[in-house]
Amino acid sequence: MTAILTMGRIFRGRWLATAGLCWLILVALAAIFAPLVAPYDPLEFDPLVRLSPPSQEHLFGTDHFGRDSFSRSLYGARMAIVIGFGSVVVALVAGGLAGMISAYFTRLGHVIMRIVDVLMAFPALLLALVLMTLLERSVVNTVIVIGIVYATTTARILFGMTLKLKGEVFVDAATCSGAGHASILFRHILPNLVSPLLVQASFIFAFAQLQAAALDFLGLGLPPEVPSWGNMLSESRIYVTRASWLLLFPGALIILSVFSMNLVGDALRDSIDPRFRNDIKGV
């Protein structure tokens, strides 16, 4: 109940972000109910209908194997969500821990943060490419690689915030109560990082889509048989002149979803940023 109220507060008067949220809910529903909704098996070849344009039977048309694009798009939503959540978990856990520990134990932090600096010196896609060439193409590896790429920025952000929180009086007060390092880090500091972590998560979720699509497109992401929006783009690029719908639908899905996630992320960020808070006690 309180969650609904909070959502109401965050999205009140933001119709664009609300539209984004609705789109994301639709994508999530598509992903969950893909087997029920999909008219065809996404992996089934049907040579008779190769490269047929959108029609009543095939809403998004078919690809060069005659697979139904609409069904593949629905299953692609599953992949999008798996990649998104997986990357978020990896990035927040690895990056969050690195950032918090670096800020709290300054000496160790010097070492960790220099490693983070080196990783951040690479463009995100390049870093992902390098890591993927070392690993096998699989869903798990893609998630880990994208997670590591965004762990660096998460570590940076959490480093700064933890450093600030570490200087808060309530941390001194906890120390005076006899609290140990683990208790201060996870009981006193971490709960104050939840809101920024949530915002960070929404942006990582969005960027992970782009990153995964790019990796798929370059043939270094998910295995080619997995129905994902990036793979669909990748496979259809040689047919772009003959079957533009093959590019259009997955492309539009990626853009719409990333845009929606960014809108929701903006709304979340604004709702926790004190500069946007209407605090009447402050005047």
Binding site: N278, I280, K281, V283
Partner: protein
């Protein structure tokens, strides 16, 4: 309401029924209500009260600085030398602000721009209102720094704000406020961020400048001591209203409002030993609380019939002494 007969030519500032409200998601909450105060040339008026009493918002309303805040003027008039500030165009107001009327704030570090030399900031302030050459403005800036008793003004004029101590920064702020030779100086908690020895210096400076220039000074503070030592007349505010106003001596000899008494008795003084302070019970109300009748009644020991329903009117106890209380204190025997 009766008000003291003041010679109209001397009347510098005259606020009548000023009411301010803050817009919140739950509607408009009043923050200053029916405030009427006046200030004459050469007079120092002190406004004292606790957090949320509306004293700072009043000064911002006079200076026209409420824009960008959720606070709005709902009613009332602010006459400055016979003209209602609230009916002037923004351009006419700007001509008055910083010129005939200027203001100093609590935090001298944030009020100065850290990347410019203080001399340049003062020169800027001077040329804002009076076209003159940079050289002439620089001479005037030196003159102002001398006026505010900055040691070695010629050496200090090219310093950056961070190179000055807190007290010197406040002196620079005062120098900038004096750039337009104002007739009214509003000082909002000018010494709150300063140490007590430096506070004494700044207060002395303000009093001396006021005597030298004959300007009117409105001093806003939470510290009754600061107000008592500096001001000719004092207005005590509680929750958006003036609850008592009187000449400084008059007020401390013959206070009528229980809140004024409570405020005074709450202060531990360095000159006397008391075993227990007689604190005012309860807490300072927040803006979103609705209190009917007298806003002080939930904390008042004298509260009786009517206090929780009827807003008491400002009643005269002497020609210049008013208080807003149904059961005012008796004069001390």
């Amino acid at each position: 309401m009766t008000r003291p007969n003041t010679d109209a030519s001397d009347l510098l500032l005259d606020m009548r029924g000023l009411t301010l409200g803050v817009a919140t998601p739950d509607g408009i909450l009043p923050v200053v209500q029916d405030l009427s105060l006046s200030l004459s040339t050469g007079e120092t008026l002190g406004i004292v009260g606790e957090s949320g009493c509306g004293k700072s918002l009043t000064s911002l309303a006079i200076m026209g600085l409420l824009e960008g805040t959720p606070v709005r003027v709902l009613a009332g008039e602010i006459f400055f030398r016979g003209r209602d500030l609230l009916r002037l165009s923004p351009r006419e107001r700007r001509a008055i602000m910083g010129n005939e009327m200027s203001m100093i704030f609590q935090e001298p570090m944030t009020s100065l721009n850290p990347v410019y030399r203080i001399g340049d900031q003062i020169i800027e302030a001077i040329r804002e209102h009076r076209p003159m050459s940079r050289r002439a403005a620089r001479d005037r800036a030196l003159e102002l720094l001398t006026m505010v008793r900055i040691p070695d003004p010629a050496g200090r004029i090219d310093s950056f704000p961070h190179q000055l101590s807190g007290g010197q920064r406040q002196r620079v702020m005062i120098a900038m406020a004096l750039a337009g030779s104002p007739r009214l100086l509003i000082a909002d908690e000018p010494t709150t961020a300063l140490d007590v020895t430096v506070q004494a210096q700044i207060l002395k400076l303000i009093v001396e400048l006021q005597k030298d220039t004959g300007m009117g000074v409105m001093l806003i503070s939470h510290d009754l001591g600061v107000i008592a030592e500096t001001c000719d007349r004092i207005a005590v505010m509680y929750r958006g209203r003036v609850v008592e106003t009187a000449g400084a001596r008059e007020l401390f000899q013959d206070m009528r409002h229980p809140y004024t008494r409570g405020l005074l008795d709450s202060i531990p003084e360095a000159d006397e030993d008391v075993d227990r302070l007689s604190a005012i019970p309860g807490r300072v109300p927040t803006l979103d609380e609705t209190i009917t009748g007298c806003a002080f009644h939930p904390r008042c020991a004298r509260a009786g019939a009517g206090c929780d329903s009827d807003q008491p009117a400002l009643t005269a106890f002497a020609p210049t002494h008013f208080a807003r209380c149904h059961y005012p204190l008796e004069p001390d025997a």
